[in-house]
């Protein structure tokens, strides 16, 4: 499929949406209105849960805060719904920012549990605050007016709702294809990966969280002015899981999935409401919950990926054009070759009683390739984690380019010019090669949230794409930039990590077993690449078990054994060192 065809499909979909109210009966239009409103909340969750990997049970509470805000402004104080929108958005986003600030450092299921907690607490507030109508709710909410036209009929507000939905969809698609959006898509790869790219995982999570709340706020505002009445019921915990169901059924990773999921759940609910009374008279309201929960559980057991990604699998691939030549991204000033670049002094790291790195000191000079070797369990990877900030030192000092980075956060260290690869490859398998490498350019680019969503900074994006393609070509993966990273063999995945690290224009490249899993020819090519990087004054620190590879490549070697430094020196000296031989082969009997 080409971009042209996709634009045609979008235009056709919009035309159908515009024509719908002239064809459909009033009941169907009302149904479509609710689908649109739920879609907004579900799109927010699709971003938060599907893209960002943060499962939230509290979306209904955000929708509720917005609905109650606008109800308070309009029905109780008599101001315009547009002022209600302002308060709804400001209040909801502020609450989300505060909650996010407090909870987003929590890991995995703890974070989701906290969403249950504040979701419940906020829902309880609606029914218990004096002045918000308590359990009776607030009625008499005025309709939204655009100029002189009051959107009283469902046919009228339909256009407003769906205009907002379409706009939100387009903005979300733009956003996900921009610098911040790529960082959001990387979140599921874990904090260590994200921060190693110079991205503050916390900041991106907070942004995602507030966007989700903002979309919830839009949904709540429209909800209040469509139904003209709010009560605590629709914002309770049960609705929170229903939004989650919409997002996941539609396909949590996809923004369009939010709309599809909202449509399916709403229509299904409607059908269930029609037919359940025929099966069980009287108890249909409760059977509805049972049927729904059962369906959701079945869905989670059987088809977790959701409908949109499933259907998208049948579509022909999107034909993307290779990035064109563009203005190159600015380069970092590199230090003079031979000057001191990295200084590790007495670094120590303990895990409980185990001392993984024990008072290790060494230096790396600019422009050299330093090999860090040692038997399994010697503490090489821990050392790497210490100097990239993935782990904190218990004692000792690490200085990079003349500045102490001992207490720096991981993403600060990455931005300072240390790029790394991982012993266990950390890529985003569902993103293309190009997008994976583009992640590396994050710290060299500036495009923010709004510029990304509105596509305002296309020049920088073009430069970043060109840079990413250059790095792919440099490591020999330039022929298929739109292949998914997960489809590469393991060896090439390691090489792709190097391309991603290079895209950050690092001063120091830290490679953790780059040659593992490569075939002989590939190893030779890798060695050649690393030599050419050295020729460009890039400094490289590497851990590797293939001695032939190490000895033929590096300038100096540091040997670790049981967490302590055994010795250091030139390859020839290390090879003949008795202590090193003993560490690797055991003592000579």
């Amino acid at each position: 499929m080409t971009l042209q065809q996709i634009r045609l499909v979008i235009a056709a979909a919009i035309a159908c949406l515009v024509a719908a109210p002239f064809v459909l009966n009033p009941f169907s239009i009302t149904l479509l209105n609710y689908i649109g409103i739920y879609s907004l909340a579900a799109i927010g969750l699709a971003l938060l849960t599907g893209v960002g990997g943060i499962v939230s049970f509290g979306q209904a509470a955000f929708v509720g805060v917005a609905a109650y805000s606008t109800a308070w402004v309009t029905a109780l104080n008599g101001y315009s719904p547009w002022l209600g929108l302002v308060l709804a958005v400001v209040l909801t986003c502020s609450i989300a920012a505060i909650l996010g600030f407090v909870t987003l450092r929590l890991g995995g299921h703890f974070l989701s549990l906290s969403t249950v907690a504040w979701g419940l607490a906020i829902a309880f507030l609606f029914g218990n605050i004096n002045g918000l109508g308590q359990h009776n709710g607030i009625s008499g909410i005025p309709p939204i007016s655009i100029g002189p036209i009051a959107l009283v009929e469902s046919k009228q507000i339909y256009f407003l709702i769906w205009a907002i939905v379409v706009a939100v969809l387009l903005l979300c698609y733009n956003l996900l294809d921009s610098r911040i959006g790529r960082a959001m898509r990387a979140l599921r790869g874990g904090n260590t990966l994200v921060e190693s790219l110079g991205i503050s995982a916390f900041q991106i999570k907070l942004v995602t969280f507030v966007i989700a709340a903002f979309l919830g706020a839009l949904s709540g505002w429209l909800y209040a002015h469509l139904g003209r009445f709010v009560s605590p019921g629709p914002f309770e915990a049960g609705m929170g899981i229903e939004y989650l169901m919409m997002a996941m059924v539609g396909g949590a990773g996809s923004v369009l999935g939010g709309v599809v999921g909202a449509a399916i759940v709403t229509l299904l609910k409607n059908t269930v409401q029609d037919y359940l009374p025929l099966i069980a008279k009287g108890a249909s309201g409760q059977l509805e919950i049972v049927a729904f929960s059962a369906l959701f559980i079945l869905f989670l057991q059987r088809a977790r990926q959701g409908i949109v990604p499933f259907l998208a699998g049948f579509l022909p691939d999107l034909k993307q054009s290779r990035p064109e030549v563009a203005e190159p991204l600015p380069l970092r000033d590199k230090p003079e070759p031979g000057t001191l670049l990295l200084k590790v002094r007495e670094a120590q790291r303990r895990f409980g009683g185990l001392v993984a790195v024990n008072n290790v000191s060494f230096e790396v000079k600019s422009g050299e390739i330093l090999g860090l070797i040692g038997p399994n369990g010697a503490g090489k990877t821990t050392m790497f984690n210490l100097l990239t900030g993935a782990l904190r030192t218990n004692s000792g000092e690490i200085a990079f380019a003349g500045r102490s980075i001992t207490r720096d956060q991981q993403f600060h260290i990455a931005r300072a010019g240390i790029s790394r690869t991982f012993q266990h490859v950390k890529l985003r398998p569902r993103m293309t090669l190009l997008d994976n490498v583009l992640l590396g350019t994050y710290s060299r680019t500036r495009t923010g949230l709004f510029a990304g969503a509105l596509r305002l900074n296309q020049a920088e994006e073009a430069s970043a794409r060109y840079e990413a393609l250059m790095q792919l070509e440099r490591v020999g993966l330039g022929d298929k930039p739109f292949e998914l990273a997960g489809n590469l063999p393991l060896g090439n995945q390691r090489v792709l990590e190097i391309a991603r690290a290079l895209a950050a224009d690092p001063t120091l490249l830290v490679l953790d077993e780059p040659a593992a899993g490569l075939r002989r020819q590939e190893k030779l090519k890798l060695a050649e690449l690393l030599r050419s990087l050295r020729a460009e004054h890039l400094t490289i620190l590497l851990v590797e078990h293939d001695m032939e590879f190490v000895m033929s490549l590096v300038d100096r070697i540091v040997v670790l054994d049981f967490g302590s430094k055994l010795c250091e020196g030139e390859p020839a000296a290390i090879r003949s060192d008795a202590r090193v031989q003993e560490a690797y082969l055991g003592g000579v009997a």
Binding site: G53, V55, F57, L99, V102, T103, R105, L106, G107, G108, H109, F110, S112, L113, S114, V116, A117, W118, L120, A121, F124, L125, N128, R188, G189, G190, N191, T192, A237, G238, I241, L244, M245, M248, A280, A283, Q286, L287, E288, I289, V290, F292, S293, A294, F296, I297, L300, Q301, R304, F351, P429, R430
Partner: protein
């Protein structure tokens, strides 16, 4: 607030906390053995109270229908998956475990009811009837996704809770129940009136947690459960079946939740949906204890009980808001305390 009032609130809080503690211990038990954060335990407690009330009123409790339906579903699922795997020899065992045993329990209840059994027997019957529910739910809902992430299991668990609330209304009806008091005695401690019910709640909580510790320390099955909790793969290599350990954990957990339901039924009016808040508050207690420590969970549950008691004195309408808001600082503190835990990468 005077010292008298504080003492009354404290006693009240400790009694509530003891009820939460039983559910919290059950929650921790299930979580460590199966990694499922079993939100519906509160529902199990509420269903026990409703079952007991029905038995008191000489009616056939709705639990019977629930158990029969779940037993049939679990049996069908198990037989189908066995047939697909070609292990037809195991089918009789599956039918025995998932269908015959629960039906025997139902039969015992049905028969015993004809003889107007005294209160203690009715309590035992209620507990017997409630115990198969969670293991059957485990088979139907969680077994097919036993290896999924904690997060997915949690999502399923929340959905399951809503299904159970709906089923609760269907099988028990909308009326609230309050069972007859287990004892009418009362004692005075340092001038403060303490009801026999409170003493009973505390005693039961202590006895049942004590029994659980004994079970873990002195029986082979208990040790197998602990092994599974520590390392599923390792336990499997030692010949322990995680699925079976899970079933035992669910049985024990249901017993704890059931006892708490019996204890709370004479004190609070219980509705079909009362379990959610009960379960969640117990769960807050379990999280305070870090989700892995039994004494920690019990202490946390007592803390929640006390907080709720004092909060309801300040503002009865906002007590739940206060309790759930408390969870956030607690989670933060827990999360900081367990910094080095491996992050779970989702895909």
């Amino acid at each position: 607030m005077t010292a008298d009032i504080a003492a009354i609130l404290a006693i009240d809080g400790i009694a509530t906390g003891a009820v939460y503690a039983l559910v919290a211990i059950g929650t921790v038990l299930i979580f460590t053995v199966t990694r499922v954060i079993f939100i519906p335990f509160g529902d199990i407690a509420a269903f026990t109270a409703l079952t007991l009330a029905a038995l008191d009123a000489k009616q056939l409790p709705g639990t019977v229908g629930l158990v029969v339906v779940l037993a049939c579903m679990a049996t069908i699922m198990d037989v189908v998956s066995l047939a697909r795997a070609g292990e037809l020899r195991s089918v009789p065992k599956a039918v025995l475990g998932y269908l015959v045993l629960p039906l025997i329990v139902v039969g015992i209840v049905w028969l015993t009811m004809r003889f107007n059994p005294p209160m203690p027997v009715r309590i035992v019957l209620a507990l017997l009837l409630i115990m198969p529910i969670s293991p059957l739910l485990d088979r139907i809902v969680f077994r097919p996704i036993a290896d999924a992430s904690v997060l997915l299991l949690l999502t399923v668990s929340v959905a399951l809770h809503f299904a159970l609330v709906g089923l609760g209304l269907l099988f028990f009806g909308p009326e609230g129940v309050r069972t007859e008091p287990l004892t009418s005695m009362a004692i005075e401690i340092a001038g403060v009136h303490v009801s026999g019910q409170t003493v009973l709640i505390l005693t039961a909580a202590l006895v049942f947690s004590g029994l659980l510790f004994a079970f873990f320390d002195f029986t082979l099955i208990g040790k197998a459960l602990r092994a599974t909790a520590l390392n599923r793969t390792g336990a499997r290599l030692m010949g322990i079946r995680p699925a079976r350990a899970g079933t035992i954990a669910y049985l024990l957990g249901s017993l704890m939740a059931g006892v708490s339901g019996v204890l709370i039924a004479p004190v609070n009016t219980i509705f079909y949906d009362s379990g959610f808040l009960l379960g969640l508050k117990a769960f807050v207690g379990a999280i305070i204890g870090g989700m892995t420590s039994y004494p920690g969970a019990a202490l946390g549950a007592f803390g929640v009980g006390l907080l709720e008691s004092f909060a309801s004195f300040q503002s009865s309408t906002l007590k739940d808001v206060i309790v759930f808001s408390l969870l956030i600082p607690v989670l933060l503190w827990r999360s900081l305390a367990s910094q080095h835990s491996e992050e779970e990468v989702e895909e």
